[in-house]
């Protein structure tokens, strides 16, 4: 079972990883967009981390609801807003629970992806974060269904996310800023997909 302290620990590790990848994410976003992905994710996770630091209660759902609101306020960019919708979906999954079971955790990436799809109206193949997140969810669910321990299944899923994120290089974006560029931005991987891979790798550790 994953308690609130585990959730806080995960938040801290992700925030740290994002700070480390800030400039790289910004650079990738600059290839096809406005270069703010690194900065805005840093802002987003600084806000999420402070929320976690300051939260003295015991409800994972309440913590994550606050985190989602603060995330949007601190980083209302496309990814910040989608991230906030995703975090809110995790909060909803925690509703009425003290802790997440392994089964709960396996379901979270799918819920996160569905929240992103509901808000952003993108789909698999549009060259977005979804192109790493949906394959991640697929692998995680499949490996866990084969009775592999969660840790191993998650590691496999993180690997899938990494491969899938890199494979967005060469794709033509169908949504967001990158769409406006057509062929010109095709050669670079999508910043949002790489972000997903970075987060997945961090959580798998």
């Amino acid at each position: 079972m994953y308690q609130i302290d585990d959730v806080k620990g995960a938040i801290n590790r992700v925030a740290q990883a994002i700070r480390e990848h800030r400039d790289y994410l910004g650079e990738l976003d600059g290839k096809s967009g406005d270069g703010d992905l690194g900065l805005s994710m840093e802002n987003a996770f600084d806000a999420v981390q402070s929320t976690a630091d300051e939260y003295a209660g015991s409800s994972i759902a309440e913590l994550l609801t606050k985190a989602a609101m603060n995330c949007n306020r601190a980083a209302p960019s496309t990814m910040g807003t989608l991230m906030s919708a995703g975090i809110l979906s995790v909060a909803k999954a925690a509703k009425g629970k003290d802790a997440f079971s392994d089964e709960d955790v396996v379901g979270l990436p799918r819920a996160f992806a569905e929240a992103i799809m509901a808000r952003g109206k993108a789909k698999l193949g549009d060259k977005t974060i979804l192109d790493a997140l949906l394959p991640l969810a697929d692998t995680l669910e499949a490996e866990f269904a084969k009775n592999r321990p969660l840790k191993e299944a998650f590691a496999a899923a993180a690997q899938t996310a990494k491969t899938a994120a890199e494979a967005t290089a060469g794709m033509r974006a169908a949504i967001g800023r990158a769409k406006w560029l057509g062929e010109r931005a095709a050669e670079y991987p999508d910043g949002g997909a790489i972000l997903c891979a970075v987060i997945a790798e961090t959580l798998a550790q």
Partner: protein, 332 residues
């Protein structure tokens, strides 16, 4: 980093504080929200309020268009980042004079999601809203799907004309109608010769050599149609006039308004060289220039470059265009 600032993370807040200090007679924060600014005389009773918003770093877009004859309020995001839903709601609440709120902003995913969330929240308070997105950059999508385009400097025209319509006490539907028809008749194309640097980032958004230019660049440094060697003003005027006239199907005898806009670092001296050449191109096509605006109307921090916007005029547009309007940043 050659910027006048203190800390990157207080860049926007300190700048906004300076603006409200300098222009306290014209602007005020809304509801104690320091990312939300409205006209000092807001709410104007009975008038449709126009609320805009977007990322910072484009002054006078967006905050610079808050004032009589333009917008009533603005929600301000971080540099090149959309404003929060909260800030939009605060601006709308403070600006609403009882006749509803038009959300008028540039077509970007982050802004769209946040303005839509704000509209949902305001709906719960029975404040009617309408959304119109400027989508004028012809480098980003073909005319057939113009509503997919990104919003750039041409947003000046829907601000000006919808602003005038609202000032004449038209209804929300009428103001929205004007904003939509102006958006359908504005086209912009820009180019740039240098990048710009986000406060706090170690490098410019992109690299470009001293002999190159990017044609069709967006106002956040999004790459454009092509990268090419630097062209002369006459060549640029030829390309821009050709593409803009074709896009709007402007032809002999038509009347237009022209906006020649600096992306930030390019001097006014150069803008007028470009206008000199652009004017000659329109004259050759026997297109009449009713009104010209030259200067900084939508910038990208300290980027070198310019954009030209064309508005195809009709009688109502001409009248609304001639109404006076004034903010601390723009007077027409």
């Amino acid at each position: 980093m050659n910027k006048i600032m203190n800390r990157p993370d207080s860049f926007v807040d300190e700048s906004l504080s300076g603006i409200v200090l300098a222009h306290g007679d014209a602007l005020k924060f809304a509801q104690g929200d320091h990312r939300s600014v409205v006209r000092a005389d807001a709410p104007v009773a009975g008038k449709v309020a126009i609320v805009t918003g977007g990322g910072y770093g484009h002054l006078p877009v967006f905050l610079g268009y808050v004032g009589k004859g333009f917008c009533d309020g603005v929600a301000v995001g971080n540099v090149f980042t959309s404003p929060s839903c909260d800030a939009i709601v605060d601006a709308a609440r403070a600006a609403n004079g009882g006749a509803g709120v038009l959300f008028l902003f540039g077509n970007y995913m982050g802004d769209t999601m946040n303005f839509e969330m704000a509209a949902e929240l305001l709906d719960m308070d029975d404040i009617p809203t309408a959304i119109v997105k400027a989508a004028d950059d012809i480098a980003s999508a073909p005319r057939a799907t113009f509503q997919d385009r990104r919003g750039v400097g041409g947003i000046f025209f829907p601000y000006k004309l919808a602003g005038a319509k609202a000032e004449r006490m038209a209804s929300l539907d009428e103001v929205r109608g004007i904003a939509e028809s102006v958006c359908a008749n504005v086209a912009t194309l820009g180019f740039s010769m240098s990048s710009c640097q986000l406060p706090g980032m170690p490098k410019p958004i992109f690299e470009i050599s001293a002999t190159e230019m990017e044609l069709g660049m967006g106002i956040h440094g999004e790459p454009g149609v092509e990268r090419t060697t630097m062209k002369s003003s006459a060549e640029l005027a030829e390309i821009l006039s050709e593409k803009l006239c074709a896009d709007l199907a402007v032809k002999e005898g038509d009347e237009v308004a022209v906006l020649v806009n600096s992306l930030g670092a390019t001097s006014k001296e150069e803008l007028y060289i470009l206008y000199n050449d652009f004017h000659a191109c329109l004259e050759r096509r026997q297109i009449r220039v009713e009104k010209v605006f030259v200067g900084e109307y939508a910038t990208s921090l300290e980027m070198l470059g310019a954009s030209v916007s064309l508005l195809k005029l009709n009688e109502e547009f001409k009248q609304l265009l001639s109404d006076s309007a004034c903010t601390p940043f723009v007077r027409v």
